[in-house]
Assembly symmetry: C2
């Protein structure tokens, strides 16, 4: 890729099965994701900036620059990272749209951050100044390296979208990264950060700067972890993946965000260093996590207590944690493995997670967010206080901000860079992984341009029409992902011929001419989905899905009922599309009341006349006020 | 009761439907509970003392007395309470058996505690000395009043078992109680303790000392709570029941131990002050908690995160919290309501909780304990470290001690005073609530003596023979509890006549003569039990019970199988008794492996030949090494 403008994408591995395309190659011109990107740009970024200022998390940098921060600093120990994620989101957004107003806001924040950096490159508002805890004195909980990681990611985004910009962010990041390498290098502190994240960042920073020192430091962090260098904590060392070396682990465990970030970093290191056994360990972890520890939404993490994965098959829908950031971490990990291996299952999980976790978090107006994404709400929630940060997992509806507010900024940076996850290239041609209306136009290193336009209303219509826009003398291969959920009924029409296709990548190698068209047709009839019998918590239940979208029953759609828990789904008839909404037939049961809820015979239930209830797309639930909701429907 | 020796019982209300009998009236001479009392006396008390010394929690008092404690003190902020609970357990045990060796150990610990008391009566090793946090500066988490509560309970136990003893404990307690009244009285600090417990203790202390000032202080604490006097915490004010006044609450919520202790204290205050509406509020809370928020074992509290009740019907068996101390708190509450109302449902819950929670915690040898009592263990556990305290809820097997070690001492004081929960009296006669082999001999205030001997192997045999040992000219009423689980098949034989009896109290008023006999026969055939359909987490499952005892399948009883999760119970045949063990027929399923655990059709399973598996009494599980276990068996 040398000699051309840098690819404006978050992850640019040196090798792998697929090569990323960037914001300059792909455009999303409408539909589900364009709408979310628009709300993100038009509402969420300003909302985030407002709260970062209101809570004093940007001002912390001013205080640190003034030297007068001890006692005045506000926010948790990782609040700097929210400012960096906000910078990263703005950088991608500026790269995507060239928004001049955003450019000046971006520069203003960079300037305030830069002013707080110390002479030796150290940058953190929480530690090291008079009256503060010493630097690196609390690796378990201090999040200093984690924060540097997000600073580097912001700088990477900027360098790839505005190479050579004179804002200074890249230099700030370089000095911070150098400080990390000096402090934690082979002869430095023999430690790791309680929260992974620096690993991916250092690898990407090495890719941006072409300085292998950062890669070496990332590899060192990956290999140091898992040997009990961190102190034991209440949740056990598993919490920060320090109980077992990455190379020996067979499944993700502990804190779900940390686990995904670490695995993503290990994958990055493995790819750069051609470390096949390390990559293989990450693959195994991913496979076991997806087959045994992942919600139907793609969500990960069952436990509130430690925001952690449960054991295999422990996937309770009520009080599911499924943190938004764990979903984003899972997308980060799956994307790296997709680039490395080219296996469509990774893209399947990305699709599922984007539609059902990442897009669930923000409200329709982009001004409030779910931190956790439960699959079952039993009680009507209450509107969170609009004027103060919510406790992260306590809000029953989307909240404007949290005392731990990692999710809003993480969603913002993900939506702003989402275009980069749509398509890739390789020596043979183009691969389309996610279906959005828009264009893909890729100039190859050899100068050939391959371009297509995609027309679709996916995921609300299964027709995906891919029209070739480039004339090329040479044959090339167009690859279209057939999702795993489309195991039956998917067809592709090319050259007038229609044939069934199986999950994986449909590939057509041709000498494509402008106007040639491939039409992928995915079966979008709504369907019942049955859980593996080992998932105890949803025994006897079914879910309803349509394409990659998980549906739910929400009490606002059931007149006269505050709880959806009295509904029993009738699976003798498949879910139907009625006026564009997936509709299911239920019977209502009225449980008898007893002195004691454990009975000598199965509890008698009263069946009433069936009712037809339209379901809501899970990502859109709770946008109409307090409600109860279920994804898993008892039969 | 005036004019006689004090009744040696933990709870002596001024009025109520039933009057407690004490350790002097009731003897347990054999069977299930005698064995546990013997292990408690012979092993657990010494084990507890060993760990209290080893961890320095008694030495904290020495350090405090020496004035040199800051920086040296060990243990959590509530460790003093473990010393007090140990004193209480010893006091009951001395009262029960007159053990002289224990008497000298008791006095030695009292002396060390007393030496640490400050001039004004304040007594806590964690606060108030130079270098320590100021007294009462952290009502949310400091546990100072909670600790005083346990000090008072120890003094109450001592005063009722060794009235007039010269050890000084009663005076230490009185000075501490006076200090609380001075500090938190109507003109004092307008606060409550984050952990309830002082309320029951002050009421009982008022009963012992006949000083109503302590009762008034208890009433003040009960009414102060629920108005947000405590700061908000991550778990919300519900955590310490400060979000809603006791009089307005309709169900127990928040931290399950705190909730039960508070409700017990409110019941005490209501009974003493004839506060009918307060007692009614507690009754309602109990009923809703038992019908919607209680495990089949009697266990309470679903959540690890905040050791709290879940919402209605949220009773996951895996990672059930069901803290041992919450079970004990539930027994405390139910006992107070039983004394007040005379409703057998309270005694039913006490029985269930004693057999399935309280007796589950200690190992057979009395030297390790469950802190939480899960109803489903998916993975083989590991033996906890014998040489250091376990993290409270992390141990997969019983652990010798915990950094928060409330449960061992709580079990010890409960077992040592268990005799007091067996029987009561009223103006009409005697009531037997729990069936143990032994004697009940009660001298009434009018001098008449009513006495019976109970012969039974309950809960392993349903025959309970009650023989009258006293001759009395006047008729009196013998009442026997027929448990709620014995709704069908219970009979009573009296005067040669056998007839069916329904749950509640069977009563027979007669002019009883020595040698008269009543035989209650309870149906002890093992049975399947079905959950209310609203308990989502155990849909499609059954449990097996025998009498009041919950059973479980444990992997050590299934040759060749490490997991019990592949077993499906055959409910077409009732559980059988084979060689004295309850045995159930299972089929084994071998789930198919998939890339993704959510399927388009119900997962095919492979049925194999049925296997007959003996179940284990739940309280006895995990006594044979690491195992997996289920109470709820999928059909």
């Amino acid at each position: 890729m040398k000699g051309t403008a840098p690819t404006a994408a978050p992850v640019l591995p040196i090798r792998g099965r697929f090569r990323p395309l960037g914001l300059g190659d792909v455009r999303i011109t409408g539909g589900f994701w364009a709408e979310r990107q628009s709300v993100n740009a038009g509402a969420s970024l300003a909302h985030i900036e407002h709260w970062l200022e209101r809570e004093g998390w940007i001002r912390n940098f001013d205080l640190a620059a003034g030297g007068d921060i001890a006692g005045e600093r506000r926010g948790r120990e990782f609040s700097d990272s929210e400012v960096y994620k906000f910078l990263e989101a703005m950088a991608w957004e500026i790269g995507r749209t060239g928004d001049a107003g955003l450019e000046s806001r971006f520069r203003a924040v960079v300037w305030r951050v830069a002013a707080a950096q110390e002479r030796d490159g150290y940058l953190n508002t929480k530690f090291g100044r008079p009256g503060q805890q010493p630097r690196w004195s609390d690796l378990e909980w201090g999040h200093e390296l984690y924060c540097v990681g997000h600073l580097l990611q912001a700088a990477v985004a900027r360098a790839r979208t505005r190479p050579g910009a004179d804002d200074g962010l890249l230099e700030v990041a370089r000095r911070a990264a150098d400080n990390v390498c000096e402090t934690f290098g082979p002869d430095g502190i023999d430690g790791v950060c309680g929260h992974a994240g620096i690993e991916t960042a250092l690898v990407e920073f090495a890719r941006v700067t072409e300085d292998e020192r950062y890669l070496g430091q990332a590899a060192l962090f990956v290999d140091r972890r898992g040997h009990g260098r961190l102190s034991d904590v209440e949740y056990g060392r598993e919490y920060f993946q320090d109980e077992l070396p990455v190379r020996q682990a067979t499944v993700l465990r502990g804190h779900a965000v940390r686990a995904n970030y670490l695995a993503a970093g290990a994958a990055d290191v493995a790819v750069e260093l051609k470390d096949a056994s390390l990559l293989d360990a990450v693959r195994t972890q991913w496979t076991n996590t997806v087959t045994r520890r992942t919600y139907i939404t793609g969500g990960q993490g069952s436990r509130h207590q430690d925001e952690a994965f449960g054991g295999d098959w422990v996937l309770p829908p009520d009080r599911a944690y499924s943190e938004t950031c764990a979903g984003i971490g899972s997308v980060m990990l799956a994307w790296r493995l997709l680039l490395a291996d080219g296996d469509s299952r990774y893209a399947d999980l990305i699709e599922r997670t984007l539609f059902n976790v990442v897009s669930t978090s923000p409200a329709a107006d982009g001004r409030s967010f779910f931190y956790t994404n439960t699959l079952h709400r039993r009680e009507l929630g209450t509107e969170p206080d609009a004027d103060r940060p919510s406790i992260r997992a306590a809000a029953s509806l989307r909240a404007p901000w949290f005392e731990v507010s990692c999710c809003p900024t993480n969603v913002a940076r993900t939506l702003a860079s989402l275009t980069a996850y749509v398509a890739t290239s390789d020596d043979e041609g183009l691969q389309l992984h996610q279906y959005v209306p828009g264009t893909v136009a890729h100039r190859r290193p050899d100068g050939r341009v391959l371009s297509v336009t995609v027309a679709t209303e996916y995921p609300h219509d299964g027709e995906i029409r891919v029209r070739v826009d480039s004339d090329d003398e040479h044959p090339w291969t167009l690859s279209l992902r057939v999702p795993g959920w489309a195991a039956e009924g998917a067809t592709v029409t090319v050259g007038g011929e229609t044939r069934p296709v199986a999950p994986g990548y449909f590939t057509a190698q041709r000498t494509w001419r402008r106007g040639d068209e491939v039409c992928l047709s995915l079966p979008l009839a709504p369907r019942f989905t049955y859980p593996d019998t080992r998932i105890d918590a949803v025994r006897g239940c079914v879910a309803v899905e349509r394409g990659p979208v998980v549906l739910a029953v929400e009490s606002v759609d059931v007149p006269g009922l505050d709880t959806v828990d009295e509904l029993r789904v009738d699976t003798s008839r498949p879910p139907a599309l009625v006026d564009g909404r997936v509709t299911v037939r239920f019977r209502r049961v009225r449980p008898a009341e007893h002195d004691w809820p454990y009975l000598t015979a199965p509890a008698p239930v009263v069946d009433e006349d069936p009712v037809e209830v339209p379901l809501v797309e899970y990502h859109a639930w709770a946008n109409r006020g307090p409600s109860t909701m279920r994804v898993w429907l008892p039969q």
